[in-house]
Symmetry: C2
Subunit: 520 residues, 2 copies
């Protein structure tokens, strides 16, 4: 069918070309080229001549069937080396712009689609004829990603300036000295085995996760872990429970994989589904039991058991995002939901970026034993993973004890910063603005009065060079959102907390005060 | 609704607990624990007591409402420090296993779902109650990923042993010395700007790609580039043209994003759609014009123009995967399809892993100007990218000229290896088995006679420790596939080519010879 656009090859050209053939005057082509060549340009002559001739053929200034001058003639007329012209003709031949027939010469090939006239007329009328898709539009419209990824009070990022870069670099250099091919090629499905062993040890002891090294799959982080899970365990149109509010990134990943999201409210004990939610069980439910993101509450044991039982009865998969469990400033972190699961329905996902540095892009998931092969094949098939060198560096970092001591040191530091920020809030606002979810993690929520427009406040703050996220962005139903600001304190040096908060407080105050009547 | 599972809190417990309360005999709990504690284990006493008590509560051996002994009494009976018991009680309280009422003591909380009896009965009957999804099943069933990622004749991998690891490591160490927070946090949508500038310079000159640095988006490779594109530019159920045969990974990515695949045959000039294909234009078409993957032909200029014109008329997006364009052993690589596109409909994608090392996981895409913002937001929202340090190392590597000289050196080396492998084939089989697509890339196809079962041959070869991929795996319609073996020569040291091919040739010969009659 494509044949009606067929290129004229050497064999058919000759018969056909009789009708069309026009012998272009050598002088005309040489003139046309001469006026356009820039003999002082850095771009080599070969490239200039080639591109000009391609252009002339594509725009039909050199029409199909036109016989080109011999390379010798053109070289003389242009005053360039004959080899240059020969190279140009070879490349034009290789790319199909011209065809050469031995003894007969070189002709411009007929490569134009047949309805060339229609094409010329139409090409002007539509500048961007193709549109992005409905799911693409929705994704962009609801995108929560911030234009700034660093600075006070960016939520969800650790203080990377405190990262022991020298230690990391030393381990890295040592490993690169004996970089084996195995570590430079693609990863086998699940990642570097010694790292999986180290992580399973850590998760068993610290998080009461029931797992063997085989159950660990290394990913590039929460986004990929969730993406992989929904692509393996759910179908298009399936319902997914998400916490209301929840992390915006998760919503985008789920929706772009075709899931229908059902926002389920959270209260002080965590996920609290209504009767109508439970009447229509979802295919999958995503929860953050250790530290609800973004509000910070812990899911109670009763709710955990109820959720597991509901999931077991209705065959619901559960993704447990063990968000920020490493950074608790009061009690020990609670055990994982996964540790309570007898039915093999919980997929446990965690991130390493918050403990190390976010740019690392590394996370892990723990999958039930009966799904290990499925996930190993799935991760390799969908993402073709690599980064084994980086995984090997991290393994050394963990086994040498650097991870534990770094997290311990950061816990102390972030605890101090949290106190400093709370003090700054109290000093300025007393108890007028409440702080939520302040015992864990790298951020808390500063609540604003119900009438406040937190998006406007965040936009004004950004203009004053202070990054915050409005709480409303985390709600699917923005009409039910309570206004507030996500404040990340972890990445702000101690002495910059008060001055930055002062800037933010000015913005908040202006926003909350009734506008003064302009003086006449 | 979750309320009927509600935890009994301190206030309500007391009234309710009157009926249920059972004072457990101190001695009995202590005995029960004592027989189960391992005083010689490495696991701390705190952890052992905590886990045993959690277990006892979850299994109702310690029933809801049971009053626990005082921490002092239990400590004495167990012969352990009182602080240990206090910590256990604190953690049990924090996790919601028990509730404490001042002056009245500590009680086991009621956290069991209400239909506990039904649960006990059902828990045995289904060991894996949840199933993977239809799309998950299809993905796993058709997965093309190999269990071995390294060795002769693994297709599609460069020789990572030749990678200048020392140079890379030196640049890396230099950059880590001044690791700025900006490079350790998340990436702004499109990646490290100096790298995008270097890549756009390279693509303009080497590949005739029309682009500014802004149009470059850094990704983790072809898989992510294609995934991002289809999530932004197509909707569920849209039709996608893929070449028949094509790279299996692309098919998996497209299908798991909900596209309906239409395999379009290729001939010697590349994509060759039939009338029925053109009657139903797709939303998107994926092509490998520089070096068809896996067969290796180059798309002719006429076909390129025809495809672009068809796409313009029917508003079809085109993904140009410029596969292996860097490794050509004969003529210069052809210009890109993107360079011919006036309508802004071509998304150009490329990989860096083949030029450097696959484990790097880095690629790039060039998007039309009118889509730059869409793709920048989309990539950050869906994948939350990072790896800026690695991108900075690569930038230095490019700007210092190491990439160019490494690729040049590899082109020579791989050309030699290709010759060695072809010679080995000719020596053994003469012209009986044809070689296809041998002027470019890191692999070629060794054709097998029509009656051969290439999957069986590949499986037998793997048993003999030789990696190949059967060509049939690249076809959607396996009945129309011609049998063949994908042979990657790039990653095999020169002196290992002949011996490894000898092993493979034995397998092929056995497979092609009619089975000898067993001697009686």
């Amino acid at each position: 069918m494509w044949n009606h656009f067929n290129i004229q090859n050497g064999a058919t050209l000759f018969g056909w070309s009789v009708a069309l053939e026009r012998f272009m005057d050598t002088i005309i082509l040489a003139d046309w080229l001469s006026t356009r060549l820039d003999r002082t340009a850095a771009e080599p002559m070969y490239r200039q001549v080639l591109e000009l001739m391609q252009q002339a053929i594509l725009t039909s200034q050199l029409a199909p069937g036109t016989k080109l001058p011999s390379s010798r003639t053109l070289a003389i007329d242009l005053g360039i080396a004959r080899n240059t012209v020969l190279h140009v003709y070879d490349q034009l031949t290789a790319e199909g712009y011209v065809v050469s027939t031995t003894g007969s010469g070189t002709y411009v090939a007929d490569t134009a689609p047949r309805d060339g006239a229609a094409r010329q007329a139409k090409v002007e009328e539509t500048k961007t004829p193709c549109m992005i898709s409905r799911r693409g539009e929705r994704l962009i419209a609801q995108a929560g990603v911030s234009p700034k990824q660093w600075g006070a009070f960016m939520p969800g990022v650790p203080d990377v300036a405190e990262f022991p870069a020298r230690t990391w670099s030393r381990l890295q250099a040592r490993l690169w000295k004996r970089a084996s091919p195995d570590l430079l090629t693609y990863a086998p499905g699940s990642g570097y085995r010694p790292l999986r062993r180290a992580l399973s040890d850590y998760l068993r002891v610290a998080r009461s996760v029931k797992c063997q090294p085989d159950q660990i799959i290394i990913t590039t982080g929460i986004h990929q872990s969730i993406d992989l899970t929904v692509r393996l365990l759910t179908d298009f149109g399936d319902r997914a429970w998400v916490e209301e509010p929840c992390y915006w990134g998760v919503r985008s990943v789920l929706q772009s994989s075709g899931l229908t999201l059902v926002p389920v409210p959270v209260d002080e004990e965590g996920l609290n589904p209504a009767a109508r939610d439970m009447a229509e069980p979802p295919r999958i439910a995503l929860v953050t039991p250790s530290h609800q993101y973004p509000l910070g509450m812990v899911m109670s044991l009763a709710r955990r058991r109820a959720l597991l039982e509901f999931a077991r009865q209705h065959k619901v998969w559960i993704i447990e995002d063990d968000y920020d469990s490493e950074f608790r400033y009061g009690s020990r972190p609670l055990s994982s939901l996964q540790g309570l699961d007898d039915a093999g329905q919980v997929i446990y996902v965690g991130s390493l970026g918050k403990m190390l540095y976010p740019g690392l892009r590394m996370g892990y998931m723990v999958v039930p034993e009966h799904l290990v092969d499925t996930f190993r094949i799935g991760v390799a098939e969908l993402y073709r993973e690599g980064q084994l060198m980086q995984q090997a560096v991290l393994t050394e970092f963990i086994l040498d004890g650097h991870l534990t001591s770094h997290v311990r040191r950061m816990r102390g530091l972030y605890g101090e910063r949290r106190e400093l920020l709370i003090n700054a809030i109290r000093t300025r606002f007393g108890d007028a603005l409440a702080v939520r979810g302040d015992e864990a993690g790298l951020h808390f929520v500063l609540e604003l009065p119900p009438f406040a427009d937190d998006r406007a406040v965040a936009a004004d703050a950004l203009a004053a060079n202070v990054v915050t996220r409005p709480l409303v962005n985390y709600y699917m139903d923005r009409n039910n959102a309570r206004p507030g600001l996500m404040l990340g304190y972890a990445c702000v040096p101690n002495d910059e907390i008060a001055p930055n908060f002062a800037k933010l407080a000015d913005v908040i105050e202006r926003a909350l005060l009734p506008a003064a009547e302009p003086q006449a």
